[in-house]
């Protein structure tokens, strides 16, 4: 077992720090690792897809994913997996058996442990809720080294503190997840081009519930009357009858590993104002005004960026941020105002994605809550400080919050406004982990 100091950062490649990375540890070693963690503590890291500093621990121990283990599904379709199992591996296991995960984020390259710790969501949130809602039970090693099995029906307090708890309540070693039956590995997709923000908000509010999956891509270069022009993409799992051609021959095709890769970070970012303008224009124009019945693979529909490994390097040596917030459904005015500020700012934005969340879950620090969530990417730089601080204040004032799995810079003093249950979370940590055996750069930065 190795334990080498290594410089780590999140997917945004900002604020790197060095921790001692513990590789190839089995689940049985976790208790001892926690007991011997030392003054800077330990944090479990998955595949490093959190954008900020959630899965790094300066001067402390960083536990690499536990080995992937997937048991055969039970009769009810639930499946026991180790926390280090990636959703990529899980999908490749489940699809040939005619099953699928009910919640998948925009990348398959996350671990089950990370998905629970961040309580990730997907395009299905308005129907299925978040990842934490798909867990039957999970096995947790507490900071003092004792093992606990928790779930919504079993020690719910500890369970809902762990869901979205950013790995700070214990180390998740395995979980039993619900799965859903699917006939195929394809989606029946409906795509619509919408000319402005009001149109897309109305369309989503009006008919999202007719689809299991729904998300809108917003052209952040459009201003004035075209502000918020979007491509709305919605889908359902395709049935066998809907498939034709090669897809019909192999209906349960599994997602493939990436075919392309960005081999190194170029010395300057390639995501600039001009490249973004071209990309956004092309993306909007290539979308049909209205099209239904299009068959797309799981990768193309859910995880288009997974096709290019290390795409985050395109932002260059200084990395990038993703700013994601949610505001209540009746505060679409905040979405509009923020979109105006983002579109009007000279700082580039690349991907802007809008989604309507269903009712929020029970996780104490879970991000999703009923309303509108917008995520925008921008190259990192001190020029963003003032803009993002202003956005935070508008979001907090509207009763919204920002997403900890994406955050790398929020002001700590806004945390209790955005996360009203944070004081309870802190009390729980005080009780469970008085020596702070679990720590991360995120927990230190925001005093979680």
């Amino acid at each position: 077992m190795s334990e080498q100091p290594e410089v780590l950062s999140g997917w945004g490649r900002t604020a790197p720090t060095a921790g001692r990375v513990r590789r190839n540890a089995g689940p049985d070693a976790v208790a001892d690792l926690l007991r011997g963690a030392g003054p800077r503590g330990l944090i479990a890291r998955g595949l490093g897809r959190s954008y900020g500093d959630a899965a790094q621990n300066a001067g402390g121990v960083v536990l690499d994913p536990l080995p992937a283990v997937i048991d055969e599904p039970a009769a009810d379709g639930s499946v026991r997996v180790s926390a280090g199992t990636s959703l990529h591996d899980l999908m490749r296991f489940l699809l040939p058996r005619g099953r699928f995960v009910p919640v998948t984020p925009g990348t398959r390259y996350v671990t089950v442990g990370g998905a629970i710790g961040c309580d990730v969501h997907g395009k299905s949130h308005h129907v299925t809720g978040s990842f934490g809602d798909q867990v039957v039970s999970l096995d947790l090693v507490l900071p003092d080294g004792t093992a606990r099995t928790v779930g919504p029906d079993r020690d719910p307090e500890l369970y809902w503190a762990t869901v979205g708890g950013m790995g700070l309540t214990g180390v998740i070693v395995s979980a039993v997840l619900r799965t859903i039956p699917v006939e195929t590995g394809y989606l029946d997709v409906t795509t619509q081009r919408l000319s402005d923000l009001d149109a897309v908000l109305a369309e989503m509010a009006g008919s999202d519930d007719d689809f299991t999956y729904s998300v809108a891509w917003i052209d952040t270069e459009a201003r004035g009357g075209a502000l918020g022009r979007s491509v709305l993409s919605r889908g359902e799992h395709a049935t066998r009858e809907q498939l034709s051609g090669p897809a019909a021959v192999q209906p349960l095709a599994v997602p493939a590993p990436p075919r392309l890769a960005v081999p190194f970070a170029p010395p300057f970012g390639l995501v600039t104002r001009s490249t973004v303008r071209v990309f956004n224009e092309a993306w909007f124009r290539k979308a049909p005004r209205f099209r239904e019945g299009e068959i797309q693979s799981i990768s193309a529909f859910f995880h288009p960026l997974d096709g290019v490994a290390h795409w985050n390097r395109l932002y260059g040596p200084h990395g990038f941020l993703q700013y994601q917030f949610v505001v209540p459904e009746d505060r679409a005015d905040v979405v509009r105002r923020i979109l105006e500020q983002v579109s009007g700012d000279r700082h580039t934005t690349f991907l802007a994605v809008l989604k309507r969340f269903g009712p929020g879950g029970s996780g104490w620090l879970s991000f999703p809550s009923a309303g509108w969530t917008l995520a925008v990417d921008a190259p990192a730089g001190p020029g963003l400080i003032g803009l993002l601080d202003r956005l935070d204040e508008q979001v907090a004032a509207a009763g919204g919050r920002i997403y900890l799995a994406k955050d790398a810079r929020v002001r700590p003093e806004l945390m209790t406004t955005m996360y009203p249950r944070l004081p309870e979370f802190r009390e729980l940590r005080e009780r469970l982990d008085p020596d702070r055996r679990l720590q991360s750069d995120l927990s230190r930065r925001l005093d979680l």
Partner: protein, 251 residues
């Protein structure tokens, strides 16, 4: 922790009453409220600095620091780091001294070398130990273009800065992979109380301009900057001027 946009939560200012150190604290306070540890000689100047930063809404702690007391540095830096992470430490102290006295008067020459070279090495070693343990942190070393090519008119000062500059550049290399970083800053002529009464050289800057350049460089992860930027080209040229000609330049 320093965040993704380079905003520190704790800043240690060694030589905390210097104009550049205070300008830096103000620059970081513009978009945040870092805790500031102001390490300087006790006295009225330090009290004023603490009060000024306090008025900006910053939590300020003053600690006694004497550059030439190198034996006391390890315990001092350890005690500061015992209760918090040091996100950024600024090595901002130095003396300019009288150019002619500082090579003809023995005490003056030794004192200048101690304050400008020995003391920065001393705190540099202590800070690097703390930051390696933390797994993160930035040491900002305020060097000078005077150290890049040492000239007759202020060679005692220039030589001490040359030594300090080389030490911190090397320290930055040694710390690679540890999470800790070093930023060496080479300002030209800066209008401060240290240079008060002297004729400004060309490309002179204010302490605020130095501070803005430093906060940007810390955010970008740079390891060496000149202030103003144009100084880099100027010094690059001057470095290659033959000695007989260099001697005749009015600098």
């Amino acid at each position: 922790m320093i965040n993704a946009l380079g905003q520190p939560q704790t800043v240690l200012l060694l030589g905390g009453t210097s104009d550049i150190a205070l300008a830096l604290a103000r620059a970081w306070a513009r978009h945040g409220s870092p805790e500031v540890v102001l390490a300087a000689r006790p006295g009225e100047r330090r009290d004023r600095a603490v009060a000024e930063l306090g008025q900006l809404g910053l939590a300020v702690e003053a600690v006694d620091f004497e550059a030439t007391d190198t034996a006391g540095h390890p315990a001092l830096i350890e005690s500061i780091a015992a209760t918090r992470d040091i996100d950024v430490a600024v090595v901002a102290f130095g003396v300019l001294g009288d150019e002619e006295r500082s090579w003809q008067d023995h005490d003056t020459a030794v004192h200048l070398a101690e304050v400008n070279y020995v003391a920065p090495v001393s705190v540099g070693v202590c800070l690097s130990q703390v930051m390696r343990r933390q797994g993160h942190g930035v040491i900002v070393a305020l060097s000078s273009v005077a150290g890049e090519r040492v000239r007759r008119s202020n060679f005692a000062y220039g030589a001490s800065k040359a030594g300090m500059d080389g030490f911190f550049l090397g320290l930055g290399e040694a710390l690679r992979g540890s999470g800790a970083r070093v930023l060496v800053v080479r300002p030209g002529f800066v209008h401060t109380k240290m240079t008060e009464g002297r004729d400004a050289a060309s490309l002179s800057v204010t302490a605020e301009q130095v501070a803005d350049a430093v906060t940007t460089a810390v955010a970008k992860g740079d390891d060496l900057i000149w202030v103003p930027k144009a100084m880099r080209g100027v010094m690059s040229g001057l470095r290659h001027v033959p000695r007989p000609l260099f001697r005749k330049l009015p600098i």
